[in-house]
Protein backbone atom coordinates (compact mmCIF):
# COMPACT_ATOMS: atom_id res chain seq x y z
CA UNK A 1 0.00 0.00 0.00
CA UNK A 2 2.60 2.51 1.01
CA UNK A 3 6.22 2.76 0.02
CA UNK A 4 8.71 3.86 2.65
CA UNK A 5 8.05 7.39 3.71
CA UNK A 6 8.78 9.55 6.68
CA UNK A 7 5.76 9.90 8.93
CA UNK A 8 4.45 9.51 12.45
CA UNK A 9 4.27 5.72 12.98
CA UNK A 10 1.37 6.07 15.39
CA UNK A 11 -0.73 7.96 12.89
CA UNK A 12 -0.10 5.41 10.15
CA UNK A 13 -1.08 2.65 12.59
CA UNK A 14 -4.39 4.39 13.28
CA UNK A 15 -4.97 4.72 9.55
CA UNK A 16 -4.30 1.09 8.58
CA UNK A 17 -6.20 -0.16 11.61
CA UNK A 18 -9.15 2.00 10.58
CA UNK A 19 -9.05 0.41 7.14
CA UNK A 20 -9.08 -3.02 8.82
CA UNK A 21 -5.88 -3.96 7.04
CA UNK A 22 -3.78 -7.06 7.53
CA UNK A 23 -0.01 -6.71 7.33
CA UNK A 24 3.05 -5.29 8.99
CA UNK A 25 3.85 -1.70 9.82
CA UNK A 26 7.63 -1.51 9.68
CA UNK A 27 9.33 1.42 11.39
CA UNK A 28 12.97 2.16 10.69
CA UNK A 29 15.24 3.07 13.53
CA UNK A 30 18.09 5.48 13.49
CA UNK A 31 21.39 5.16 15.30
CA UNK A 32 21.49 6.74 18.70
CA UNK A 33 17.79 7.41 18.71
CA UNK A 34 14.58 5.51 18.25
CA UNK A 35 15.21 1.79 17.75
CA UNK A 36 12.28 1.24 15.42
CA UNK A 37 10.41 -2.04 15.09
CA UNK A 38 7.34 -3.58 13.53
CA UNK A 39 3.65 -3.83 14.43
CA UNK A 40 1.61 -6.68 12.91
CA UNK A 41 -2.08 -6.33 12.23
CA UNK A 42 -4.83 -8.74 11.35
CA UNK A 43 -8.14 -7.25 10.23
CA UNK A 44 -7.11 -3.98 11.82
CA UNK A 45 -6.30 -5.48 15.24
CA UNK A 46 -2.75 -5.60 16.57
CA UNK A 47 -1.61 -9.21 16.93
CA UNK A 48 2.10 -8.77 17.57
CA UNK A 49 4.88 -6.20 17.75
CA UNK A 50 8.63 -6.49 17.87
CA UNK A 51 11.57 -4.17 18.34
CA UNK A 52 15.32 -4.60 18.70
CA UNK A 53 15.02 -2.76 22.03
CA UNK A 54 12.67 -5.27 23.65
CA UNK A 55 12.90 -9.03 24.08
CA UNK A 56 10.34 -10.90 21.99
CA UNK A 57 8.20 -13.83 23.11
CA UNK A 58 11.00 -16.29 22.30
CA UNK A 59 13.64 -14.43 24.29
CA UNK A 60 11.27 -13.94 27.23
CA UNK A 61 10.37 -17.62 27.36
CA UNK A 62 13.87 -19.02 26.84
CA UNK A 63 15.98 -16.56 28.84
CA UNK A 64 13.78 -17.19 31.89
CA UNK A 65 14.15 -20.92 31.43
CA UNK A 66 10.41 -21.33 30.93
CA UNK A 67 11.08 -23.10 27.63
CA UNK A 68 14.24 -24.93 26.64
CA UNK A 69 15.93 -23.28 23.70
CA UNK A 70 15.46 -26.39 21.59
CA UNK A 71 11.75 -26.62 22.41
CA UNK A 72 11.36 -23.08 21.22
CA UNK A 73 13.47 -23.67 18.13
CA UNK A 74 11.49 -26.80 17.23
CA UNK A 75 8.20 -24.92 17.50
CA UNK A 76 9.66 -22.08 15.46
CA UNK A 77 10.84 -24.44 12.72
CA UNK A 78 7.62 -26.40 12.57
CA UNK A 79 5.17 -23.54 13.02
CA UNK A 80 6.69 -20.65 11.10
CA UNK A 81 5.62 -21.64 7.57
CA UNK A 82 1.93 -21.65 8.54
CA UNK A 83 2.23 -18.83 11.10
CA UNK A 84 1.15 -21.05 13.95
CA UNK A 85 4.06 -21.13 16.37
CA UNK A 86 1.84 -19.96 19.23
CA UNK A 87 -0.80 -22.57 18.44
CA UNK A 88 1.83 -25.33 18.34
CA UNK A 89 3.24 -24.43 21.76
CA UNK A 90 -0.25 -24.67 23.24
CA UNK A 91 -1.19 -27.87 21.40
CA UNK A 92 2.01 -29.56 22.49
CA UNK A 93 1.30 -28.55 26.08
CA UNK A 94 4.43 -26.47 26.54
CA UNK A 95 2.52 -23.43 27.74
CA UNK A 96 -0.93 -22.64 29.10
CA UNK A 97 -3.17 -20.35 27.12
CA UNK A 98 -2.92 -17.82 29.97
CA UNK A 99 0.84 -17.80 29.96
CA UNK A 100 1.09 -17.39 26.21
CA UNK A 101 -1.52 -14.63 26.14
CA UNK A 102 0.12 -12.69 28.97
CA UNK A 103 3.55 -13.11 27.40
CA UNK A 104 2.34 -11.92 24.00
CA UNK A 105 0.38 -9.00 25.47
CA UNK A 106 3.44 -7.90 27.42
CA UNK A 107 5.67 -8.20 24.36
CA UNK A 108 3.22 -6.24 22.17
CA UNK A 109 2.97 -3.21 24.43
CA UNK A 110 6.67 -3.33 25.17
CA UNK A 111 7.77 -3.41 21.52
CA UNK A 112 5.05 -0.99 20.40
CA UNK A 113 6.41 1.64 22.75
CA UNK A 114 9.76 1.53 20.93
CA UNK A 115 8.33 1.10 17.43
CA UNK A 116 5.79 3.89 17.73
CA UNK A 117 7.81 6.13 19.99
CA UNK A 118 9.23 8.62 17.55
CA UNK A 119 7.21 11.50 16.16
CA UNK A 120 8.69 10.96 12.73
CA UNK A 121 10.47 7.95 11.26
CA UNK A 122 10.78 6.04 8.00
CA UNK A 123 7.67 3.84 7.96
CA UNK A 124 6.28 1.37 5.51
CA UNK A 125 3.15 -0.74 5.55
CA UNK A 126 3.55 -4.19 4.01
CA UNK A 127 0.06 -5.45 3.25
CA UNK A 128 -0.52 -9.13 3.79
CA UNK A 129 2.66 -9.69 5.79
CA UNK A 130 1.94 -12.12 8.62
CA UNK A 131 3.92 -13.07 11.68
CA UNK A 132 5.17 -16.58 12.46
CA UNK A 133 3.58 -16.46 15.90
CA UNK A 134 0.05 -16.37 14.49
CA UNK A 135 -2.90 -14.72 16.18
CA UNK A 136 -2.77 -15.30 19.94
CA UNK A 137 -4.44 -12.09 21.08
CA UNK A 138 -6.13 -9.19 19.31
CA UNK A 139 -5.48 -5.72 20.70
CA UNK A 140 -7.18 -2.50 19.71
CA UNK A 141 -4.71 -0.31 17.80
CA UNK A 142 -6.01 2.82 19.53
CA UNK A 143 -5.22 1.29 22.92
CA UNK A 144 -1.68 0.45 21.76
CA UNK A 145 -1.14 4.01 20.52
CA UNK A 146 -2.55 5.55 23.68
CA UNK A 147 -0.47 3.34 25.94
CA UNK A 148 2.73 4.07 24.00
CA UNK A 149 2.20 7.80 24.47
CA UNK A 150 1.38 7.35 28.15
CA UNK A 151 4.57 5.37 28.69
CA UNK A 152 6.73 8.10 27.29
CA UNK A 153 5.06 10.57 29.67
CA UNK A 154 5.74 8.18 32.57
CA UNK A 155 9.44 8.17 31.74
CA UNK A 156 9.70 11.93 31.58
CA UNK A 157 7.98 12.21 34.95
CA UNK A 158 10.73 10.04 36.43
CA UNK A 159 13.68 11.80 34.82
CA UNK A 160 13.43 13.77 31.59
CA UNK A 161 16.49 12.67 29.65
CA UNK A 162 15.72 10.43 26.67
CA UNK A 163 19.42 9.79 25.99
CA UNK A 164 19.40 7.37 28.93
CA UNK A 165 17.18 5.05 26.89
CA UNK A 166 19.84 4.32 24.28
CA UNK A 167 23.26 5.26 25.65
CA UNK A 168 25.58 2.63 27.18
CA UNK A 169 24.97 2.35 30.91
CA UNK A 170 27.76 3.32 33.28
CA UNK A 171 27.26 3.02 37.04
CA UNK A 172 28.83 5.88 38.96
CA UNK A 173 31.88 4.74 40.90
CA UNK A 174 30.52 6.01 44.19
CA UNK A 175 26.98 6.30 45.40
CA UNK A 176 25.92 9.86 46.11
CA UNK A 177 23.83 8.77 49.10
CA UNK A 178 24.66 7.13 52.40
CA UNK A 179 21.82 4.67 52.20
CA UNK A 180 20.27 3.28 49.06
CA UNK A 181 17.23 1.12 48.54
CA UNK A 182 17.16 -0.69 45.21
CA UNK A 183 14.52 -2.79 43.55
CA UNK A 184 15.55 -6.24 42.35
CA UNK A 185 15.63 -5.11 38.72
CA UNK A 186 17.70 -2.03 39.56
CA UNK A 187 20.23 -4.25 41.25
CA UNK A 188 20.39 -6.59 38.25
CA UNK A 189 20.97 -3.64 35.96
CA UNK A 190 23.76 -2.17 38.07
CA UNK A 191 25.47 -5.54 38.33
CA UNK A 192 25.41 -6.07 34.57
CA UNK A 193 26.05 -2.51 33.40
CA UNK A 194 29.66 -2.20 32.31
CA UNK A 195 29.85 1.07 30.44
CA UNK A 196 29.46 -0.78 27.14
CA UNK A 197 26.05 -2.39 27.21
CA UNK A 198 23.14 -0.27 26.11
CA UNK A 199 19.70 -0.54 27.73
CA UNK A 200 18.62 -2.73 24.80
CA UNK A 201 21.61 -5.03 25.37
CA UNK A 202 20.75 -5.28 29.06
CA UNK A 203 17.08 -6.03 28.38
CA UNK A 204 17.98 -8.82 25.97
CA UNK A 205 20.71 -10.19 28.23
CA UNK A 206 18.49 -10.30 31.30
CA UNK A 207 15.27 -11.23 29.51
CA UNK A 208 13.60 -8.19 31.04
CA UNK A 209 11.03 -6.03 29.31
CA UNK A 210 12.64 -3.15 27.42
CA UNK A 211 10.35 -0.54 28.93
CA UNK A 212 10.79 -1.82 32.49
CA UNK A 213 14.54 -1.64 31.89
CA UNK A 214 14.63 1.96 30.79
CA UNK A 215 12.10 2.88 33.47
CA UNK A 216 14.48 1.60 36.14
CA UNK A 217 17.45 3.20 34.40
CA UNK A 218 15.71 6.58 34.48
CA UNK A 219 15.10 6.03 38.19
CA UNK A 220 18.75 5.13 38.71
CA UNK A 221 19.75 8.28 36.81
CA UNK A 222 17.42 10.36 38.96
CA UNK A 223 19.07 8.85 42.05
CA UNK A 224 22.50 9.69 40.61
CA UNK A 225 23.55 6.02 40.53
CA UNK A 226 24.29 5.85 36.81
CA UNK A 227 25.96 8.51 34.74
CA UNK A 228 23.71 10.82 32.84
CA UNK A 229 24.53 10.96 29.17
CA UNK A 230 24.74 14.45 27.72
CA UNK A 231 24.69 15.67 24.16
CA UNK A 232 27.85 14.98 22.23
CA UNK A 233 30.63 17.34 23.03
CA UNK A 234 33.51 17.18 20.53
CA UNK A 235 35.97 18.42 23.14
CA UNK A 236 35.48 15.35 25.31
CA UNK A 237 35.41 12.80 22.52
CA UNK A 238 38.29 10.38 22.66
CA UNK A 239 38.55 8.66 19.31
CA UNK A 240 40.51 5.77 20.82
CA UNK A 241 37.64 4.81 23.08
CA UNK A 242 35.04 4.61 20.39
CA UNK A 243 32.62 1.73 20.42
CA UNK A 244 32.71 -0.44 17.32
CA UNK A 245 29.72 -0.67 15.03
CA UNK A 246 27.61 -3.68 15.88
CA UNK A 247 26.08 -6.56 14.04
CA UNK A 248 22.52 -5.50 14.57
CA UNK A 249 21.21 -2.31 13.17
CA UNK A 250 20.00 -1.37 16.58
CA UNK A 251 23.00 0.14 18.20
CA UNK A 252 23.81 3.76 18.38
CA UNK A 253 26.49 4.72 15.91
CA UNK A 254 30.06 4.61 17.01
CA UNK A 255 31.35 7.62 18.77
CA UNK A 256 28.08 9.25 19.62
CA UNK A 257 27.25 7.12 22.54
CA UNK A 258 29.91 7.49 25.12
CA UNK A 259 28.24 8.94 28.17
CA UNK A 260 29.55 12.17 29.48
CA UNK A 261 28.59 13.15 32.92
CA UNK A 262 26.58 16.28 33.34
CA UNK A 263 28.53 18.73 35.32
CA UNK A 264 25.69 21.02 36.06
CA UNK A 265 25.65 20.35 39.77
CA UNK A 266 28.16 20.18 42.56
CA UNK A 267 31.59 21.64 42.58
CA UNK A 268 33.68 21.28 39.49
CA UNK A 269 36.75 19.13 39.77
CA UNK A 270 39.53 19.14 37.18
CA UNK A 271 37.75 16.51 35.17
CA UNK A 272 39.91 16.60 32.09
CA UNK A 273 43.22 15.92 33.79
CA UNK A 274 41.57 13.40 36.01
CA UNK A 275 40.13 11.52 33.12
CA UNK A 276 43.34 11.23 31.22
CA UNK A 277 44.90 9.86 34.37
CA UNK A 278 42.42 7.02 34.71
CA UNK A 279 40.81 6.46 31.36
CA UNK A 280 43.74 4.64 29.78
CA UNK A 281 43.89 1.78 32.21
CA UNK A 282 40.37 1.99 33.44
CA UNK A 283 37.79 1.59 30.77
CA UNK A 284 34.77 1.88 30.67
CA UNK A 285 35.61 5.49 30.07
CA UNK A 286 33.50 6.81 32.85
CA UNK A 287 34.06 10.40 33.57
CA UNK A 288 34.03 10.44 37.33
CA UNK A 289 31.14 12.27 38.82
CA UNK A 290 31.99 15.49 40.58
CA UNK A 291 31.81 14.07 44.05
CA UNK A 292 34.60 11.55 43.45
CA UNK A 293 37.36 14.03 43.39
CA UNK A 294 40.08 11.65 44.42
CA UNK A 295 41.92 9.79 41.69
CA UNK A 296 43.70 7.57 44.19
CA UNK A 297 40.61 6.03 45.73
CA UNK A 298 39.02 5.85 42.34
CA UNK A 299 41.40 3.05 41.47
CA UNK A 300 40.02 0.85 44.24
CA UNK A 301 36.42 1.27 43.26
CA UNK A 302 34.43 -1.81 42.34
CA UNK A 303 34.23 -2.40 38.64
CA UNK A 304 31.90 -4.90 37.08
CA UNK A 305 33.77 -7.75 35.40
CA UNK A 306 34.14 -7.52 31.66
CA UNK A 307 32.84 -10.99 31.00
CA UNK A 308 29.13 -11.47 30.86
CA UNK A 309 27.66 -12.97 33.99
CA UNK A 310 25.24 -15.63 33.16
CA UNK A 311 23.98 -18.88 34.46
CA UNK A 312 26.25 -21.84 33.89
CA UNK A 313 25.45 -23.32 30.54
CA UNK A 314 23.33 -20.39 29.49
CA UNK A 315 23.82 -19.27 25.94
CA UNK A 316 25.41 -15.90 25.48
CA UNK A 317 22.93 -13.82 23.51
CA UNK A 318 24.18 -13.76 19.96
CA UNK A 319 23.88 -10.04 19.90
CA UNK A 320 26.54 -9.77 22.57
CA UNK A 321 28.50 -12.81 21.60
CA UNK A 322 29.23 -11.33 18.22
CA UNK A 323 30.83 -8.33 19.71
CA UNK A 324 33.32 -8.45 22.53
CA UNK A 325 33.23 -5.26 24.59
CA UNK A 326 35.69 -2.88 23.06
CA UNK A 327 37.69 -1.85 26.02
CA UNK A 328 41.13 -0.46 25.72
CA UNK A 329 43.05 -3.63 26.34
CA UNK A 330 45.34 -3.98 29.29
CA UNK A 331 47.42 -7.14 29.32
CA UNK A 332 44.87 -9.05 31.42
CA UNK A 333 42.05 -8.07 29.18
CA UNK A 334 43.77 -9.21 26.05
CA UNK A 335 44.43 -12.55 27.71
CA UNK A 336 40.83 -12.85 28.87
CA UNK A 337 39.55 -12.05 25.43
CA UNK A 338 41.80 -14.66 23.85
CA UNK A 339 40.64 -17.29 26.27
CA UNK A 340 37.06 -16.37 25.62
CA UNK A 341 37.48 -16.50 21.87
CA UNK A 342 39.17 -19.89 22.19
CA UNK A 343 36.35 -21.20 24.38
CA UNK A 344 33.75 -19.99 21.98
CA UNK A 345 35.48 -21.78 19.12
CA UNK A 346 35.27 -25.06 21.05
CA UNK A 347 31.48 -25.01 21.23
Amino acid sequence: MSPTKTAAPGRLLTQVAGERQTGALVVGGHPGGSPGGAVYLHDGAVIYAESPASPGVGELLTSSGRLAARTWQAALDAGSPQSRVGRLLLDQGHLTQGELELCVLGAIYDAAYFALGSASAPVEFRPGAGHWLGTVVRVDAAAVNRESRRRSRLLDEIFPNALIDSAPVTPVPRAPLERITLTALQWELLVHADGQRTPADLAQLLGRAGFATIQELRRLAALGLIERPAERDPKTDDPDLVRLPRARGTAPAAGVTRPVVTLDEGPMVPVVTHRTATAVEDPPPATPAPYTGDPVTNGTVYRPPRLARRKPGAKLPKDLAGEPPMDVPGADEVLLKRIRTALRALR
Binding site: G93, C103, A209, Q215
Partner: protein
Protein backbone atom coordinates in the same frame (compact mmCIF):
# COMPACT_ATOMS: atom_id res chain seq x y z
CA UNK B 1 -7.64 -24.34 28.68
CA UNK B 2 -7.99 -21.22 30.83
CA UNK B 3 -6.88 -18.04 29.14
CA UNK B 4 -6.97 -14.45 30.34
CA UNK B 5 -10.63 -13.93 29.45
CA UNK B 6 -11.70 -17.13 31.18
CA UNK B 7 -9.75 -16.13 34.28
CA UNK B 8 -11.54 -12.78 34.48
CA UNK B 9 -14.93 -14.45 33.96
CA UNK B 10 -14.19 -16.80 36.83
CA UNK B 11 -13.08 -13.85 38.97
CA UNK B 12 -16.42 -12.18 38.33
CA UNK B 13 -18.13 -15.36 39.54
CA UNK B 14 -16.59 -14.87 43.01
CA UNK B 15 -19.47 -13.89 45.34
CA UNK B 16 -19.65 -10.11 45.61
CA UNK B 17 -17.26 -9.37 42.72
CA UNK B 18 -18.13 -6.18 40.84
CA UNK B 19 -15.03 -5.79 38.68
CA UNK B 20 -11.80 -7.52 37.77
CA UNK B 21 -8.66 -6.80 35.80
CA UNK B 22 -5.10 -7.90 35.19
CA UNK B 23 -2.71 -5.01 35.70
CA UNK B 24 0.91 -4.55 34.72
CA UNK B 25 2.26 -2.89 37.83
CA UNK B 26 5.43 -1.49 36.29
CA UNK B 27 3.42 0.68 33.97
CA UNK B 28 0.03 0.79 35.69
CA UNK B 29 -1.65 -0.48 32.57
CA UNK B 30 -4.71 -2.74 32.68
CA UNK B 31 -3.84 -5.54 30.26
CA UNK B 32 -7.37 -6.95 30.48
CA UNK B 33 -10.51 -5.73 32.27
CA UNK B 34 -14.09 -6.72 32.93
CA UNK B 35 -16.99 -5.42 35.01
CA UNK B 36 -16.91 -2.18 36.96
CA UNK B 37 -13.99 -0.12 38.27
CA UNK B 38 -13.86 2.47 41.06
CA UNK B 39 -15.20 5.73 39.58
CA UNK B 40 -15.88 3.77 36.35
CA UNK B 41 -12.28 4.21 35.32
CA UNK B 42 -10.27 1.01 34.84
CA UNK B 43 -7.17 2.86 33.71
CA UNK B 44 -7.06 5.19 36.72
CA UNK B 45 -7.71 2.28 39.05
CA UNK B 46 -4.90 0.32 37.38
CA UNK B 47 -2.47 3.21 37.78
CA UNK B 48 -3.36 3.39 41.48
CA UNK B 49 -3.09 -0.38 41.83
CA UNK B 50 0.41 -0.26 40.37
CA UNK B 51 1.44 2.47 42.81
CA UNK B 52 0.14 0.54 45.77
CA UNK B 53 1.98 -2.62 44.72
CA UNK B 54 5.19 -0.71 44.09
CA UNK B 55 4.87 1.06 47.42
CA UNK B 56 4.32 -2.25 49.18
CA UNK B 57 7.24 -3.97 47.46
CA UNK B 58 9.86 -1.26 47.38
CA UNK B 59 8.88 1.68 49.55
CA UNK B 60 7.16 0.01 52.43
CA UNK B 61 7.53 1.18 55.99
CA UNK B 62 8.56 -2.27 57.12
CA UNK B 63 10.48 -4.49 54.77
CA UNK B 64 10.84 -8.17 55.40
CA UNK B 65 14.48 -9.09 55.96
CA UNK B 66 13.81 -12.71 55.03
CA UNK B 67 15.23 -13.56 51.57
CA UNK B 68 12.69 -14.50 48.89
CA UNK B 69 9.87 -13.19 51.06
CA UNK B 70 7.88 -12.10 48.05
CA UNK B 71 4.59 -10.28 47.96
CA UNK B 72 1.68 -12.68 47.49
CA UNK B 73 -1.38 -10.54 47.86
CA UNK B 74 -2.54 -7.19 49.13
CA UNK B 75 -6.01 -6.38 50.40
CA UNK B 76 -7.42 -2.93 51.00
CA UNK B 77 -10.58 -2.80 53.08
CA UNK B 78 -12.74 0.27 52.69
CA UNK B 79 -16.17 1.09 54.08
CA UNK B 80 -17.90 -0.16 50.94
CA UNK B 81 -15.69 -2.89 49.61
CA UNK B 82 -12.59 -5.00 49.44
CA UNK B 83 -9.87 -4.43 46.86
CA UNK B 84 -7.86 -7.62 46.39
CA UNK B 85 -4.59 -7.68 44.50
CA UNK B 86 -2.85 -11.00 43.89
CA UNK B 87 0.47 -11.33 42.15
CA UNK B 88 0.47 -13.50 39.04
CA UNK B 89 3.80 -15.35 39.14
CA UNK B 90 4.91 -16.10 35.62
CA UNK B 91 8.24 -17.79 34.95
CA UNK B 92 9.04 -15.29 32.22
CA UNK B 93 9.56 -11.62 32.99
CA UNK B 94 6.28 -9.87 33.73
CA UNK B 95 4.96 -7.88 36.63
CA UNK B 96 1.26 -8.60 36.79
CA UNK B 97 -1.44 -8.55 39.43
CA UNK B 98 -4.96 -9.90 39.34
CA UNK B 99 -7.22 -7.22 40.80
CA UNK B 100 -10.74 -7.95 42.02
CA UNK B 101 -13.10 -5.38 43.48
CA UNK B 102 -15.56 -6.95 45.93
CA UNK B 103 -18.73 -5.56 47.37
CA UNK B 104 -18.38 -5.47 51.17
CA UNK B 105 -21.87 -6.81 51.92
CA UNK B 106 -21.95 -9.65 49.41
CA UNK B 107 -18.26 -10.43 49.42
CA UNK B 108 -16.54 -12.90 51.73
CA UNK B 109 -12.90 -11.98 52.11
CA UNK B 110 -11.63 -15.45 53.02
CA UNK B 111 -13.52 -17.12 50.17
CA UNK B 112 -12.42 -14.53 47.63
CA UNK B 113 -8.80 -14.76 48.69
CA UNK B 114 -8.68 -18.53 48.27
CA UNK B 115 -10.46 -18.36 44.94
CA UNK B 116 -8.06 -15.74 43.60
CA UNK B 117 -5.11 -17.84 44.68
CA UNK B 118 -6.44 -20.71 42.58
CA UNK B 119 -7.27 -18.50 39.61
CA UNK B 120 -3.87 -16.83 39.51
CA UNK B 121 -2.16 -20.21 39.75
CA UNK B 122 -4.35 -21.84 37.08
CA UNK B 123 -3.68 -19.02 34.67
CA UNK B 124 0.00 -19.90 34.45
CA UNK B 125 0.17 -23.55 35.55
CA UNK B 126 0.75 -26.31 33.06
Amino acid sequence: MPGVEHCLQEAMAIPGAVGASIVDYTTGFPVATTGAAPNSDHEAAAAGTADVVQAATSRSLFVSAVPHDLLEDLIITTAGGYHLLRLVQTDFDSRLVLYVWLDRIHGNLAVARRRMQTLAAELVAT
